[in-house]
Amino acid sequence: MYRSQTLAVKYFSAAIALFGVMTITGLIAAYYYINPDFLFGILPFSIAKILHINTLVIWLLMGFMGSIYWFLPGELGRETAGIWAAEILFYVFCAAVAVVAVVLIVFQYGGSNEAALWLINQGRKYVEAPRWAALGIVVIMVVFAYNVIGTAIAARKTTGIITVLMIDLIPLILLYLIAFPAISNMSADLFWWWWLVHLWVEATWEVLIGCIMALALMQLLGTSRRIVETWLYIEVALVLGTGILGLGHHYFWIGTPSYWLTIGGFFSALEPLPLLGMVVHAVYDAGAQHMKTTNRPALYWMMAEAFGNFIGAGVWGFMITLPQVNLYAHGTQWTVSHGHFAFWGAYSCGVISVLYLVLQRTRNLAIVDGSLWKWSFAALNLGLVGMTGALLVSGFVQAFVERAIGGSTLDAFISGQENAWFIDGMVARFLLAIVFTAGYVVLVWDVLTLGRRAPAVAAAAAAQ
């Protein structure tokens, strides 16, 4: 095994651990809605939410990096360039994440000065991590880009997938620089902030996971490179063709000119197209193999990725993307419903799929199967889709009661939040979050014991 692949395993371990932190802080945040006095005066809702959404970003980023460190040596036929730097930075990355989490929990916030933004909390959604930590992420991303590009140079070769990946890493890093400034004008601040958030999540990350899924498909189903690369280019053309101007759906209400209502509405309405393409691709490939594979969990998670991305990001996103609807849905639990489903479908399922591919090699398993992965697959997906539905109910209530009828004032907000259907949705979300958490526990159990439960695997192998 290459050193790069050993590093990949470490990244996956850290990613799965942070997936757990995300789940627990999500549970806490969900519980505040049911019992607002919970941890009052100790840990405000904001800190639980910050930990929830930042660990989301970091565990996915670590999952992506682990996937690339895993596939890169095989793709280019050599050890990853500068792997020693990446190995050191892995521990720096983990230590930094831990320090940021402790500082956020213990100090929570500082005074209104630059020092607080550098050391404690930047207070911008998704990029709350203090600036020193954000600088660290830049260094890690630059070294990661060097690992990929340097390996291609050293190997004197590249492939279509690696070329797309290399080009994608440049905007990925440049856009992250938006994490630093504190622009006083909220309209301008949010304008650039969306360049980071949207053009990461709905553009560069989509391309990144597209590359990872392409590499995974070749390993999982033996799909030909020609087919995979053709699809990747189509994906890139459609994702960026719709997603770059789809950015406009965040510019409806932040003080930007009204032409964004038309441009953002139109292009973001087309954003599901590439995701539908991904479903067609996945179903075609899996069908061509008659769903036969030596790694069923990887295949099922990949199918969940394709469908989850299309339904969660595509359909759920389309539901709120037209300005006529977004005027009422924006900033409600309806958005939260879309956010959960989209991140899960677009990214999380893909990372879990690659994790199972990695485990098959590291544990040297001819066949990966058993019953544990099915329980975790069912509980995680049912929990997540259930949460999505529950949040949608609460979101509808807000859109109607708070926005359309109430007029969006403080009193309207409160009457929406106190509405019985809203509360039912929040309780259902919490209960389904527990189902999701149970799925996570089983996933960890399966990952830890896979290949070490010899009889079960042998039985499954015999059944095949």
């Binding site: 505040y32 809605y33 009052f40 005066g41 809702f45 904001s46 800190i47 939410k49 916030y109 209104s112 000065n113 607080a116 909390n121 930047q122 207070g123 911008r124 959604k125 279509g160 504190a182 006083s184 004008n185 909220m186 309209s187 949010l190 304008f191 690369e229 053709t230 280019y233 189509i234 890139v236 053309a237 960026l240 770059i244 101007l245 950015l247 406009g248 209400w253 932040i254 003080g255 930007t256 000119p257 009204s258 032409y259 209502l261 005027l327 009422y328 924006h330 900033g331 639990q333 926005r403 359309a404 009828i405 007029g407 969006s408 004032t409 403080l410 009193d411 309207a412 907000f413 409160i414």
Partner: protein
């Protein structure tokens, strides 16, 4: 044309990205001028010296901010430099306390607490004046922000974030300025229900 050739689709991807990126850059240049203070959609910071309202514009089909006569914040008009300093300070308070992780600004943020886009104009402040014993709306807001646990809103209480009086005044100035931003009618129907009654 060979549709099976990956190179065909690669060329398509590159040209699509190039065209879309150029359009985005052009629109960004235009938008940045519209959203800079004093631009077509975002007022100068000295707007905090004036009365601000939010009224239905029949031509545009939604509510728009209406800037009225003199109404200095805390009874004292600020020049351009002082107003900018107050707004800078206000934004620093917003970031250092991570307000956006409970509240929303222009609908962006977290959904645990109310949207602050038009918070300055919220009719509820009338009642808060009585509760806090303040003479003015801005006075009530300062008292609330400095000790939110004393003035519990409802079952969800805003925690005490150690906001000092200068910080609270800067925050109030920020919220007043923000309420004058033209948000294409967001949030909808704000305050209209009460006005119709």
């Amino acid at each position: 044309m060979d549709f099976d050739d990956p190179a065909f689709w690669r060329a398509g991807a590159i040209s699509t990205i190039a065209v879309m990126s150029i359009v985005l850059i052009m629109l960004t240049i235009d938008s940045l001028s519209a959203i800079s203070p004093g631009g077509s959609h975002v007022p100068t910071y000295t707007v905090i010296n004036q009365h601000i309202d939010y009224k239905f514009d029949s031509n545009r089909g939604f509510d728009v901010p209406v800037i009225g006569g003199a109404e200095p914040l805390f009874g004292k008009a600020l020049d351009e430099t002082a107003a900018a300093a107050l707004i800078d300070h206000g934004k620093m308070v917003i970031q250092s306390r991570a307000c956006i992780d409970c509240h929303t600004f222009f609908g962006n943020g977290a959904y645990y607490a109310p949207d602050l886009t038009k918070a300055w104009l919220d009719p509820a402040w009338g009642g808060w004046q009585a509760v806090t014993g303040a003479d003015t709306r801005e006075g009530a807001m300062v008292k609330f922000l400095m000790d939110p646990e004393q003035y519990r809103t409802w079952t969800r209480t805003m925690p005490n974030l150690g906001v000092t009086e200068p910080e609270a005044r800067a925050l109030v100035g920020y919220l007043k300025w923000m309420s004058a931003v033209d948000t294409n009618g967001f949030p909808p129907n704000f305050n209209q229900i009460e006005k119709r009654q």
